[in-house]
Every structure is written in C-alpha cells, then in structure tokens.
Symmetry: C2
Subunit: 337 residues, 2 copies
DNA sequence: ATGCCTGGTTGGATCGTTCCAATCTTGACG
DNA sequence: CGTCAAGATTGGAACGATCCAACCAGGCAT
C-alpha cells in the first residue's frame, strides 16, 4: 500500500535513485545490486505511485476516448468493441484509457481541450470522422495529439489515421456470392453522401462491374437506400426483392430489415451484413467484420508515429444458419439457374 | 497549456494559496478578491494539473472497471450500457473511469490490487457477481473499496451493492400479459442455479401462482431452459410452443430463439425478452429494461456510503412491431378466448 | 605517482498542487 | 484607545517520483 521508493531504498541499502534506476533503467546497475534491489522491491510489494511519476515526467500516457450517450441503437456496439480492443492492448503497453461523454462534436472538442490542459489525458482518439468533420481541424490547430479512427475526409492538413477498407469488405462479400453462383446481387445502403456508406457501396459496385459488366444505371436499379434502422429498411428493400437473388448490405440493421422483408415469402435469400454486430450473431446471418483488433493495434502504433496512416482490411464472417430463410453464402442450391 | 497556479497568483496579485482557495473553497475569500482571482483564472485559461492535486491529496477519485475481452456474444452489451451511464455521471461528479481487461476473476483481483497500489484507481466496481464469487471476499479481505453490481450471493461480510430486481421485472411482464388476456404464459430461462436466472423465473412464477393459482408442477411444465444462445433456445422452446399463448424470457437471446422457433407456424405469439438489448430493438419485440441509469446513479452514491444497498426496479419497454409474427403485449386480438 | 576516463551510485532540486500553521486585517467592544 | 476574536491572506512543507549534475572507485595510460 503505502510503500515508497524510499522504503525500498532503505531495505536494500541503496539510494532512492538507484531503486528508480533498477525499475526504469536496469542496465545502469551492477548486476549484483540490481538483483538485491529487485528482491527488496517484491519483498515489500512495492508499486510506483503513478501520479507522482506523471507529475514529474509531465506526461500521463493516457488515451482519451469519447463514448456516445446511450441510445437505443445498434451502431454503438461497434465503438464498444473497438474500446475493448483498445483497452486490452493499452494494458500491455502501459497506457491507460480514459472515457468521457459528449453529445456533440463541439462539446467533444471542448472536453478534449480541458482534459489536455488539466493533464488528465495526453492522447486522443477521434472516432467516426465524417465529411465536414470540424473536430479534426480544431485539434490540428490546437496542436493536440490525436489519431482518427476514420479516414480524413476533408482535413486541411495531414494527420495520423486508421480506417477500415469498407470497399474491400463489400467486394469480398460480393465475390463470395458471385462465386456461389448468384448473379442478381443487390445492395442495400444508406442515403448517398455519408462517406463510409459510399465507400461500402463502391466495393460492391466495382465487383459487379468487373465480373458482370453491369453499367451504372443497372447498378442503381439493384440498389436500395434507407436510414440505418431495421424498420425503415424493411420498407426500403421491399421493391428490390423481386429483382435480386442475394443482397449485400451496408450494415447489419439494414440486413436485418432485408431479411424481415423477405421472410414472409419463404424464399431462401442470402443476405450479408456489415459490422458483425450482435444482431448478425443473433439472427445468424453472415456479416463483414471490421477487424477491430487490427484497428486498435494500428491506433496504438500511430501514437508513436504521428505520420502513420493505415487502411485495415475487414473480413467476411460466414454463418450457415438457415433460420429466417437466410441462406448461407455458399449455398448453391438457393442460386437460381 | 502550461499555466500554473503561480501564474494566476502573479496575475491577480495574490498568493498561490489564495488562488487555490478561490477554486476549492471560495467561501474563505473576500468577495472582491474572489472576483478578481476568478477573472485572472479565466483570463489565463487556467485548469489545475490534476496529477499534482492527486499526488498531494492522496486520492485519485477514479473508478476502476473491468471489461470483458471481446467475444461474439450479446450479453456484453449490457455491461457496455452500464459503462456509458457510469461514465456520463462520473463526468459530472468529477470522477474518472479507468478501464482494464481481465480474462478470469483471479486476474481481475490481481489487477485491482495493482491499480490500487500504484494509485491508478481508488474505487472499483465488481460487475456480474454470482454465487460462489471469490472476488468479493478477496476485496473485502484486502480492504479495497468497491461496489458490486449484483447482489451478494454468499459474501462473508456486508458490503455496498446495487442490483436489478429481476423478479419485479418478469412479474411486471407477466402481469402485462395476464392483463391482456393471456393465460398460458410460458417462461424460457437458463439452467437452474445461476442466481439472476432463478430470480427472473421467480417473478414470473409468483405472478402465475397468485393470479392463476398454478402449482409448482404446472409451472415447471410451462418452463423451458436453455443456455444463452439463440440457436439453442430455438430447440429448447420447440416442445413448449404448443402449450403456451405467450412467453416471458430471461434474456433477449432466448426471446429471439423462441421467436425463431415460432415463426414457421405463422402464429402471432407475444414474446417478452430481458435486458432490452439491440437484439430486441432490432427484431422489435418488447423487453425488460434494466434502468442502467439508475444503477449507475446508485453505484456512484454507494461510493460515498459504503453501507448502501440498492435494488433497482426494471421497466417493461413495449414495442408494437408485428414483424416475425411477434404480437404486441397489449394485443387482445391475439389472445385466445 | 598524477591525471583521466568510465561504470556505478548518490544528493538535491523539481514537477504543481494542497495541507497546515502562522501572520496580518479589520471591526467590535469595553 | 487598547484588546481580542473572527475574517482574510500568506509562507513553507509536504505528496513521491524522476531529472540532472556531481561524486566516487578503480583501471589504464602517462
């Protein structure tokens, strides 16, 4: 509990500084002294007072991360998983993760400023960057060290970022369906202009263009758009269903909506979601997983190298659950002709 | 950035101590000085160095909380929501939340010890306490300040805790179904012996006994049990379906399984889940919500009063979504005779 | 022997705040 | 007009670590 460096020093018969060196710079000590000191350290169960260290070193190695207030939506689970990975890895790197909440981007920037100036955190992660994001420029201008989870849509200066290659994910999903014999593969996405939504559609579109030679007009006819809610997606996909034999979706909510829309007909329609949330796991449909462990790894690395930029490749998680009339991806039997 | 108490003091023409008092104990100052000092404070944009304060005060007002490593399950989302609430309220109380991960209860205790002795956190939340939980006794013995989220199943000494009254929740759900005219209301739960699982079943059982006079044998015939996975729940509820006209479930996963099992028949069967996770929101079935905001509030309060024990009442969230053949709770039309 | 260098070790100052006790004001009152 | 108490302000010592520069022993060259 209350053992200080001085106690260990007295116990080992050396100076305070030597004990400090034993822990932080062991190479400086004569091997025999080192051994003796370390023995005293764990004889007394000493652990350094982290606050004192931080005060002296003028660094807190703490990552500040905003989390959203609770809402009844599904999207947040993605950030939660990222948070878990980030924390697990931070443990090993001797970093800490400090959470705070904010209800708007402006408030987030204010709180980051505050945390920085009161030295509660000295590194920040901006998650969910989007086109027109004012946070990036605000932090750049203030000279605050941060890594963005999300590519720079329109930042005025370069900065460290990590993002998931959504297009690569939907492309993989689309090609898996093509390989399984499907041809009329539809896409259910969000309204245009959302950055990552457009990115996800692009992967599907590219694959369809390349492999089947479909033109833009044709692609548009295979596309449905809806806000990210199951209920709305049900309605939005209804008109698309007669014309497709498989679906790639920009999110699991949309996928769930599509499945709900298709269920009454009794058809076996392969549907692939995005983000691999609990919704996909629960309903049992395949989904594209964002590899958040890799994202977290890249974020940690980016704190050391502020010029780093990383695009992580997501991977398709297959599921062979056939409840709800969901057909597994590789189920050739469900592919017409 | 680097403005210190001393800078403010110089600017305002007072001593360092006076500035400190202005911020922490304003009543001590003459109103005119107070005003002058505060003016200097925000003229210079001063924010106290939190590390220095913690070092001096020998207290860090930081709550340590373990989060589970990522797994593909649904249960974790509950803890995540609790985390969000806890954090949001901590912000306002000047507390911080520090996360760490552990893969076993033993590791959790070790890490808590460590965080305590290095003064990284000085308050802890133990979540998901269960019968036979060794963590509680370990922390009690070590004299570490903690609040349990979960009642004390077999702790050897009293301690602060907060829990959700699961029985009250399932009772409310059951009574809502009874009021809607249902009589043969089944229960889908976990294998006996899980503490909170037994608690949730008790609420349903009590209501059925009191209102319909069903005996234990009868209740047992209306019960299905399954591990907390959608797939298993589908199989486990199959035999129950012919004998019930509504279901109360111990979790949303179980509810989703029950709904999946009932879907093929085309029946409109009201199903109520527990925890109000994204699965319930996504599929659109009613669920019992744990009121995690109240839980978080009680946890914060318990840190101030270590003898505090709180049982929070959950509330039924109704949904009138009829996809999947889920009937809304109050839908009399679906209630037979 | 004197000086010099290098590997080990040490003392003292410092990070920025709050605690504690002492000092200075002020005003009321005999 | 001096005394005393309460009110307001202040100086200095902590909190517990690391930084920095200085010290010491001894091996080697001069």
């Amino acid at each position: 509990m209350g053992t200080r460096l001085a106690d260990v020093a007295a116990h080992a018969g050396v100076s305070v500084q030597t004990v400090s060196n034993a822990l932080n710079n062991p190479a400086l000590l004569k091997p025999t002294t080192l051994e003796r000191v370390l023995a005293s350290v764990d004889a007394l169960g000493y652990a350094p007072n982290i606050q004192a260290r931080r005060l002296r070193q003028r660094t807190v190695s703490t990552i500040g991360l905003r989390i959203e207030p609770v809402v009844d939506n599904i999207a947040s689970s993605l950030l939660d998983r990222f948070l878990h990975e980030l924390t697990a890895q931070a443990d090993e790197l001797g970093r800490h993760v400090l959470l705070f909440t904010a209800t708007s981007d402006e408030e987030e920037v204010r709180k980051i400023r505050r945390l920085q100036s009161e030295r509660a955190a000295d590194q920040f992660v901006l998650s969910g960057t989007h086109p027109g994001d004012a946070r990036v420029d605000a932090l750049l201008e203030a000279g605050l060290p941060f890594v963005a989870f999300g590519r720079p849509w329109d930042a005025s200066a370069p900065h460290a970022w990590v993002d998931v290659d959504g297009a690569a994910g939907t492309r993989e999903a689309t090609e898996a369906l093509l390989d399984a014999g499907h041809r009329r593969i539809g896409f259910v996405g969000w309204p245009a202009g959302s950055g990552s939504g457009d990115d996800r559609r692009a992967g599907w579109a590219d694959a369809m263009r390349e492999r089947l030679g479909i033109d833009d007009a044709g692609l548009e006819r295979l596309t449905a758009r809806s806000d990210d809610r199951v209920g709305e997606a049900v309605d939005a996909t209804a008109h698309l269903l007669p014309h497709v034999d498989a679906l790639v979706c920009a999110s699991d909510s949309l996928a769930a909506g599509a499945i709900a829309a298709a269920a009454p007909s009794g058809r076996r329609l392969p549907v692939i979601g995005f983000d691999n949330t609990s919704l996909a796991a629960g309903l049992g449909f395949p989904s594209i997983d964002q590899s958040l462990d890799e994202v977290a790894r890249a974020v940690h690395a980016a704190f050391a190298d502020p010029t780093s930029t990383t695009l992580v490749r997501p991977r398709l998680v297959r599921r062979d659950d056939t409840r709800w009339g969901i057909a597994p991806v590789a189920d050739r039997g469900s592919a017409p002709s």
